[in-house]
């Protein structure tokens, strides 16, 4: 959440680009060669589903020659028979050997040897926005039998924490993802390979989800370092259930801020009154101030204020930004107290 953690990967990526530029081989592969090479490791997966809008197919990526396939954890894998088809038409029975429910990554094992694999680079630096990428997946199931998966091109549009859902289902992963500028939120795409123009695996295409903030369908991929961590955890038996997404709410009344009552779905967080003698009063907050941020996080609704305060640890300094007379005013409210009884 701090600007430091946002910037570090960017610098690293820039550095990497410069280093790579220096180490440019005499001739880069053509896009066709790059795609053909990587697509050998992309697996069409057929499993459970096919009813009520859930597809029965997705995509996976071979990550070692002995047959480990990473893919997304989904209902497609809820099946005794998981068919995995390579781009040369070879068909394998996939066995689910484990999953990381937080990152929603699963590993399947195929009985094979010397299979074409894309290495999982645990130390791969995060890509910077603007990096050209290729997405390889069995979108809409259009590739059948020995047909190679479909390739799409795009760039990394943004690198942001995932905050998404589909219907009532809230995505448990809250870490960074690559937002892509090509449309990958298609049936069959989840689990596809995101590769760079040198053919290296840089991410795993995510599920069909909508952004919480705007409701738009997301085109995103899990960065390869997170995929590698998930893989390592699964193989080592460390993968654990997701920590429950923090849903703690903290009523700002404990700081002396009484907001307008929640009459609408998302009432704007206008301050109705400030309790005399409270931290809010000491900090100079006033009635009719409109709260716009809590510790830098935008709070477009009354509920967002409670969630933003709830996400802070007890004792964390609370700084709010309000709009007053057409200007932003920042106020420090001191440490967040423990929850003051039921809100």
């Amino acid at each position: 959440m701090t600007s430091h953690s946002r910037r570090a990967p960017r610098h690293a990526a820039w550095l990497a680009v410069l280093l790579l530029s220096a180490a440019l081989p005499a001739r880069a592969a053509t896009p066709g060669e790059t795609i053909a090479g990587a697509a050998r490791s992309v697996v069409k997966i057929y499993g459970a589903g096919g009813v009520s809008g859930l597809e029965a197919y997705q995509t996976g990526v071979l990550v070692n020659p002995t047959g480990h396939v990473v893919t997304v954890l989904s209902t497609v894998l809820d099946s005794d028979i998981i068919d995995c088809v390579l781009d040369d038409g070879r068909r394998f029975a996939g066995r689910l050997i484990g999953a990381d429910p937080r990152r929603e990554v699963a590993v399947l094992a195929l009985e094979g040897e010397e299979l074409p694999a894309l290495p999982l680079a645990a130390d791969h630096p995060r890509l910077a926005p603007g990096t050209r990428v290729l997405a390889l997946s069995n979108l809409f199931g259009v590739a059948v039998g020995d047909e190679r998966v479909s390739a799409q091109h795009g760039v990394v549009a943004a690198v942001v924490p995932l905050d998404a859902r589909r219907g009532a289902y809230e995505a448990p992963y809250r870490g960074a993802v690559y937002i892509l500028d090509c449309t990958t939120n298609n049936p069959g795409s989840p689990g596809g390979a995101l590769i760079d123009w040198r053919g290296r695996l840089v991410g795993l295409l995510g599920k069909e989800l909508r952004a919480n903030a705007s409701g738009v369908w997301l085109n995103y991929a899990l960065p390869v370092d997170e995929v590698a961590k998930a893989y390592d955890d699964i193989i080592a038996g460390r993968a654990t259930a997701p920590a429950a997404v923090s849903t703690e709410r903290f009523d700002p009344a404990a700081l002396g801020v009484i907001l307008l009552p929640d009459l609408l779905d998302k009432t704007p967080p206008f301050i109705e009154t400030v309790r005399t003698g409270s931290p809010a009063a000491a900090a100079g907050l006033r009635a009719d101030d409109l709260l716009v941020a809590v510790n830098g996080r935008a709070v477009p609704s009354r509920m967002a204020v409670q969630q933003a305060l709830g996400a802070l640890a007890v004792g964390d300094p609370v700084r709010v930004s309000v709009v007053r007379d057409g200007a932003i005013v920042d106020c420090d409210l001191g440490p967040r107290p423990a929850a003051a009884g039921a809100p």
Binding site: R7, A28, V160, D181, N219, L290
Partner: protein, 693 residues
């Protein structure tokens, strides 16, 4: 193209981008830039596709770096966004983007981020600090909003360069930049310029991913020069979210910065720029291919003020030849209310060749609601088929059935039996051409095109002689006159007709006077309290006398749900009307819908759904349903509204009257006797009176 002197400093040809590339040490990137050809080393090796891709990637990032200091995040509005219902297809809220236009803090964004009723928005700068952007101006024709912040943080500056329209080429790289995803790092989406002329000339199109997150952000070329501002701009619809359903679809729009800079001083001065309206309707509804012949010229419109009128053919607009309606749109849509457009016209002149005219029209933001002008002539009934087959020459014209008591026509001496053969609507200069009248619709069109209070000269044939009457027009009345002539038809010659259609489970019952196809009937649809099926014999007893006296077919539909009227019942009525039309001639000028209680409120909804063919609505013991919207009356969309009986909250009814009246509808009172059942006689009289012209 007039471009203010203050903007030329922007036009610095992106030299900063070049420096950035060289400092970055990525020399290959420069090969892709549009360097003047003389500077390209002739012996440079052609890069292979892989190298090309990576070099382009460098150029994309350099372009983003160049414009990034001008790009800010705009937080979603609070109050308004909360009230909008987010639909599946079209997002209506979310973090968005803005583009700094001036060093003193003017920031452009879109009406997506800052809807019409929002007066300030929170802006997040690249360093994470926040500011309040006060709305100073709006371009409602393009969905652009200008914000003003008190000050910009250090390092936040307007774009170094922008691209004039003339330098744009379809197929060139375009990069969409936003900060909706992350205020501190600009987002990047890459595509090409798909089209230069979209939204009737108001935008250019790109296949880069454009969505709420980068609306308001710049679309830049490969050198980081701003092409335009990304906006959810649809070609043909209006409304705050229109166009958002196209997000991330490969169809994205940007308003050229050149167009925004041209009006920047006006936006900074606090203006709201509105799309410009001429105030005419065309004969065909095909907006693309139709011939641009004026069918309606709205009273009080810019077109009417310069003397345009029905029949005029537009042959040029601002010097550009016009052959189709679309050609006019291309000229007018980019303009604003207050701008002028010069139209070349050809006006029919009888047997002679058309007269050429040139008019200069000042476009308006809105039109006054249309109040239908009449002269108080009620023609004898004519079916649609007869009107089309009206004989020409001496036998042509429209016969006056009766004249409105003490109406304008009566005052100047027009009598029943007179035949109106031509109408002359004088131009502003007092001269004009008479229009031959061959149908009630033509007479209605001629009278309807003048402002109430102005005169129309009617030429009337009486006893073989032609006489002229100068008649002053008046706003169409809503009340029912006392002395409406009635026929002496036999009430026994009225029967219950079962209107069946393939799609109908149950036939619709209608009380229909006997007669032939030469005897067009008025139509009244009566919605009673919902009670399921209708007793045909009882309905016949109720309506027979009034239906016979006034030659009205009364449809008495049942409700498919015995408890309430439902949407499907409207479809049933529509099919019933079609079935009736197939069997009997109907007078298109005398179709009305009425109802009582729940049926009264439903009558309003039914009239809306049945369309402009419904000329009157009467609500007994009912008010207009709250969910109904009332659009301003327009030619072809106006109806008389009558209220009768009582309602629990009279203030609601008074509010209805005021809404309707200010929207241009004639509103009147329906005399109702409490507890006496449907006011059959007065309703059928009213149907006859609706035919007034």
């Amino acid at each position: 193209m007039m471009i203010g002197g203050g903007m030329s400093r922007w036009h610095a040809r992106g030299s900063a981008v070049f420096r950035g590339l060289i400092v970055g040490g990525v020399v290959v990137g420069t090969m892709l830039l549009a360097v003047p050809s003389g500077l390209v080393r002739a012996q440079a090796p052609v890069p292979d596709a892989g190298e090309m891709a990576l070099a382009e990637e460098e150029a994309f990032r350099a372009a983003v770096t160049a414009v990034a200091p001008a790009v800010v995040r705009v937080e979603p509005g609070t109050a308004t966004a909360a009230l909008n219902t987010r639909t599946e297809a079209a997002p209506s809220t979310g973090p968005s983007t803005g583009l700094v236009l001036t060093a003193d803090g003017s920031i452009a964004t879109t009406s997506f981020a800052v809807p019409a009723d929002v007066t300030e928005a929170v802006v997040v700068f690249p360093d994470g600090s926040r500011g309040v952007g006060r709305v100073v101006g709006r371009d409602d024709a393009r969905g652009i909003v200008l914000l003003q912040v008190a000050a910009l943080p250090a390092g936040v500056v307007p774009p170094a360069a922008w691209v004039p329209r003339t330098e744009l080429a379809v197929g060139q790289w375009t990069i969409a930049v936003g900060r909706g995803w992350d205020a501190t790092a600009p987002s990047v989406a890459v595509g090409i310029l798909s089209a230069l002329h979209r939204s009737w000339g108001r935008s250019v199109q790109t296949d880069a991913a454009v969505s709420p997150s980068n609306y308001g952000g710049p679309l830049v070329d490969i050198r980081g020069r701003v092409i335009g501002i990304l906006a959810p701009l649809p070609a043909d619809t209006a409304g705050m979210n229109a166009g958002t359903e196209l997000y991330d679809s490969g169809i994205g729009f940007a308003v050229p910065l050149e167009d925004i800079l041209r009006v920047l001083p006006r936006l900074q001065a606090g203006e709201t720029l509105k799309p410009g309206i001429i105030g005419i309707g065309y004969r065909s509804r095909d907006p693309v291919n139709a011939s641009p012949v004026v069918a309606v010229c709205r009273a009080g419109s810019p077109a009417a003020r310069v003397g345009m009128r029905a029949g005029d053919r537009i042959v040029s607009a601002n010097g550009r030849p016009v052959a189709r309606v679309a050609d006019i749109r291309h000229v007018v849509a980019p303009l604003y209310a207050g701008d002028t457009v010069t139209l070349g016209l050809e006006r029919p002149a009888g047997d002679q060749s058309p007269r050429a005219l040139t008019v200069t029209v000042e476009l308006a933001a809105t039109l006054p609601p249309w109040r239908r002008p009449v002269v108080g002539i009620v023609p004898v009934r004519a079916g649609a088929a007869e009107a089309a087959a009206a004989p020409a020459g001496d036998a042509g014209g429209v016969t006056v059935g009766w004249v409105w008591p003490a109406g304008p026509a009566a005052r100047v001496g027009v009598l029943p039996g007179d035949v109106v053969v031509s109408a002359l609507v004088a131009e502003a200069d007092g001269v004009g051409d008479a229009q031959a009248i061959d149908s009630a619709a033509a007479l209605g069109g001629a009278i309807g095109s003048v402002e109430p209070g102005r005169r129309v000269r009617l030429t009337v044939r009486r006893n073989g002689q032609l006489r002229d009457f100068d008649v002053e027009t008046a706003v169409a009345p809503a009340e029912i006159p006392a002395d409406v002539p009635v026929g002496d038809a036999d009430p026994a010659a009225v029967r219950v007709m079962r209107l069946e259609a393939a799609e109908l489970a149950e036939p619709v019952l209608a009380i229909v006077p006997d007669g032939g196809t030469q005897d067009p009937l008025g139509v009244l649809v009566w919605f009673d309290q919902p009670r399921g099926a209708v007793d045909g014999e009882a309905a016949l007893r109720t309506w027979r006398l009034a239906a016979a006296r006034h030659r009205v077919a009364v449809l008495v539909p049942g409700s498919s749900d015995p408890q309430r009227w439902g949407r499907e019942d409207i479809a049933t009525v529509a099919r019933g009307l079609d079935a009736l039309r197939a069997r009997r001639a109907l007078d298109p000028g005398r179709i009305a819908v009425a109802g009582s209680g729940a049926g009264g409120a439903f009558a309003w909804l039914a009239a809306e759904r049945l369309g402009p063919g419904v000329r009157g609505v009467a609500l007994v013991d009912a008010v207009i349903p709250r969910q109904a919207t009332i659009e301003s009356a327009e030619p072809g969309r106006s109806r008389a509204v009558l209220f009768g009986g009582t309602v629990p909250d009279p203030t609601l009814r008074e509010a209805d009257r005021q809404r309707l009246s200010s929207a241009g509808y004639p509103v009147g009172t329906l005399p109702v006797t409490e507890g006496a059942g449907p006011p059959v006689e007065v309703l059928c009289t009213w149907v006859e009176a609706l035919g007034v012209l």
